[in-house]
Symmetry: C2
Subunit: 338 residues, 2 copies
DNA sequence: TTGTATGCGTTATCAA
DNA sequence: TTGATAACGCATACAA
C-alpha cells in the first residue's frame, strides 16, 4: 500500500495525494475528502523511509544517557521523550555507560542513523580534559547537540543546567547558621555538576570563615554507589576520630547511608547530626527520618531543553546557548534549620 | 558525500562500492582495500534512509513502557536497549503512560515509523478485557510483538514472564511455616502479574488451610504509590482493629510503608511482624530494617526477550512463544524464616 | 487546482 | 570480478 495505490483508488495524481497528506492548502475540498476517505479506508501510512530519503530527516532525536536505570537519568529520559513526542519527534535511546570509548561509539551510531539532534543527559558527559569532548563538538558540526546538566562552549551546542553550586552553597550556609561547624562533604562524581556542588560547599565554608581540613571532603569512588558501600566510608571516617555534626552529600543515596551509620552508632538525627541529600529522590521519603534534600528541577530543565531544541530545529536564531535554573531545598526531618 | 562520490574517487562503479560496504565476497582484494581507504578517508557513512527504503528496515525496535522513570521499567529498558544495541538494532523509546488510548496511539506511532518489532515492557499492557488487547494483536499482524512480564496468546506475539505466582506462594508459605497466621496482602496493580501474585498468595493460604477474611487483602489504588500514601492505607487497616503479624506486598515501596507504619506504632520488625516486598529494588537496602524481597530476575527476562526477538527476526522457526523464569527470594532483616 | 517528471541514495538483478 | 540499471515511495519544481 503506497501513494500510487491511493492515487489509483481516487483517480487523482500522486502529487495531489501527497498534498493532501501534507496538508497543502491548494487542494479542493472535494478531492481532499475523497483522498482522505481512501487513505482511511485502506489504512495507508506514508513510508517514512521514502519520506526521510527525500527530506533527509525522520524526525528522530538521539538521546544519550549513561544509564537509564539511574533514577535521576530515568526521570530525565521520561520527561524528554514526552516532550519530543508531543512535538512529533521520536526518541532513539542509547545507554552509553560511563566509559569514554563507549560514549563515542554510541554517538557515532546515532549520527549514522541520521538523527536530527542529540541530547546528552547527565553531567557525566563533559570531561575536564577538553580533548575528550571533541567527539561532542564534532557531532555538533552535523546536528544540534543539547546538554542537560552539563556545559560545553562550542558552536551548535546548547546547555541547560541547574545551579548546583548555589544550591549546595545555600544548604551549607543553612547548616552553618544553625550552628553546625564540624561539617563533612561526601560526593561521588567528578562531573561538571559534581565539581560545581563541591565548589558551592567550599565557598560557603570559606565565606563563613570556617577552617575545615581536607579530610572532611571525601570522594566515594563509584557511579552506582550502594547504601552499604557508602556507609562503610562514613564508618571509616568516624573510625579515624573525625567528629562531625553535619553531613552534606551530593546524592540522596549517600545521605541515606549516613543515616544508617548514625542509627548504628546511636547518633540522633537531627538532634546531634544534620544530614542533607541531593536530587530529592523517592528514597528521601523512604528513609527514617525523612531526608532533607535538594530538588534540582529536573522536569523544568528537560522541558526547557526540548523547547530550545524545537527552536533550534526551526531555525529560530534566538535560542539561548545556555540556561541556568535554580534549585529548591526541600527540608524534611534530617535537619532543623534556624 | 554519497556512494557516487566514493565511486568517482575510486574509479569503480557504485555497485562495487555497495558490495564492499556490505561485505560481499565477490570483490577482489585490491578493489576492496582501495574502496575501504576512500571510505575511511572521506568519512562516508551510507545513508540509512535510502538503505531503509530499499530494504524496508532501519534495524530499529520500538520499546513501549508505561513510565521509564519507574525503577522496574527503567531497569528493563536499560537491559533491553543494551541487548538490542549489541545486535546492531536501535531502540525507539515510547513512554506511553497507563492510559489505554495513549498506549494505542504510541503503538500506531511506532508502527508508522516502520520499526522492525515492538517490545512491550511491563505487566500493565495486557488487559483483562480482551478486546482492549486488540491493538496489540493487530500490531502483531505487521511486526513481531514481544511481551516482557505479560502474556497474550496470539500469532506473532512472544511472552517472557517471571513466575510471580510461585514466588508469592513461596513467600507466603514461608510466613506460614514460621508461625505467622494473621496475614495481610497489599497490592497496587490488577495487571497480569499483579493477579498472578495475588493468586499465589491465595493458594498458599488455602493450601495451608487457613481462613482469611477478604478484608485482609487490600488494593492500593495507584500506579505510582508513594510511601506515605501506602502508609495511610496500613494505618487505616490497623485502625479498623484488624491485627496482623505478617504483611506480604506486591511491591517494595508498599513494604517500606508498612515498615514506616510499624515504627510509628512501636511494632518491632521482625520480632512481632514479618514484612516482605517484591522487586528487590535499591530501597529494600535503604530502609530499616532492610527488606526481605523477591528478585524477579529482570535481567534474565530482558536478555531472553531480546535473544528470542533476534531469533524471530532471523526467521528462526524454533523461537518459543512463551518463557517462564522463576524468581528468587532474598531474605533480609524484615523476616526470620524458619 | 491538478498532473508530470525528477531526484533522494541505496540494494539487487542481470548482463558482461 | 565488475558495471549498468531498475526498483524502493515519497516530495516538489514546474507545467498546464
Amino acid at each position: 500500500m503506497n501513494i500510487y495505490d491511493i492515487s489509483k483508488k481516487t483517480g487523482v495524481s500522486i502529487a495531489t495525494v501527497s498534498r493532501v497528506i501534507n496538508g497543502s492548502s491548494n487542494v479542493s475540498e472535494k478531492t481532499r475528502s475523497k483522498v482522505l476517505a481512501a487513505i482511511k479506508e485502506s489504512g495507508y501510512t506514508p513510508n517514512v523511509f521514502a519520506r526521510g530519503l527525500g527530506l533527509n530527516t525522520m524526525k528522530t532525536i538521539g538521546i544519550m544517557c549513561a544509564d537509564s536505570s539511574d533514577p535521576y537519568l530515568a526521570r530525565a529520559v521520561y520527561y524528554i521523550e514526552h516532550g519530543l513526542r508531543k512535538n512529533n519527534y521520536g526518541s532513539l535511546l542509547s545507554c552509553t555507560g560511563y566509559d569514554h570509548d563507549a560514549k563515542e561509539k554510541c554517538m557515532a551510531m546515532l549520527l549514522s542513523k541520521r538523527v536530527d539532534a542529540v541530547i546528552l543527559v547527565g553531567s557525566n558527559y563533559i570531561e575536564k580534559d577538553d580533548c575528550l569532548n571533541d567527539y561532542i563538538k564534532n557531532a555538533a558540526g552535523t546536528v544540534p547537540v543539547m546538554l542537560v546538566n552539563g556545559v560545553l562552549n562550542a558552536p551548535n551546542i546548547y546547555s541547560t543546567v541547574c545551579d548546583d553550586r548555589a544550591a549546595i552553597y545555600e544548604v551549607t550556609e543553612s547548616f552553618i547558621k544553625s550552628g553546625k561547624r564540624d561539617l563533612l562533604y561526601l560526593y561521588n562524581s567528578h562531573s561538571y555538576s559534581g565539581m560545581k556542588k563541591l565548589e558551592g560547599f567550599r565557598s560557603a565554608v570559606k565565606d563563613a570563615k570556617i577552617q575545615l581540613g581536607e579530610e572532611r571532603i571525601n570522594y566515594i569512588n563509584s557511579y552506582n554507589v550502594t547504601v552499604n558501600d557508602a556507609k562503610k566510608v562514613v564508618s571509616d571516617i568516624a573510625a579515624k576520630g573525625i567528629k562531625f555534626d553535619g553531613v552534606i552529600t551530593s546524592d540522596d543515596i549517600i545521605a541515606v547511608s549516613v543515616l544508617k551509620y548514625a542509627r548504628d552508632a546511636g547518633i540522633s538525627v537531627p538532634d546531634s547530626l544534620f544530614v542533607a541529600g541531593y536530587n530529592n529522590f523517592d528514597i528521601s521519603e523512604c528513609c527514617e527520618p525523612e531526608l532533607t534534600s535538594v530538588d534540582n528541577k529536573l522536569e523544568t530543565l528537560c522541558h526547557h531543553c526540548v523547547s530550545t531544541l524545537m527552536d533550534v530545529l526551526s531555525d529560530n536564531r534566538s535560542a539561548p546557548k545556555r540556561m541556568v535554573f535554580s534549585a529548591e531545598i526541600i527540608e524534611r526531618e534530617t535537619t532543623k534549620f534556624i
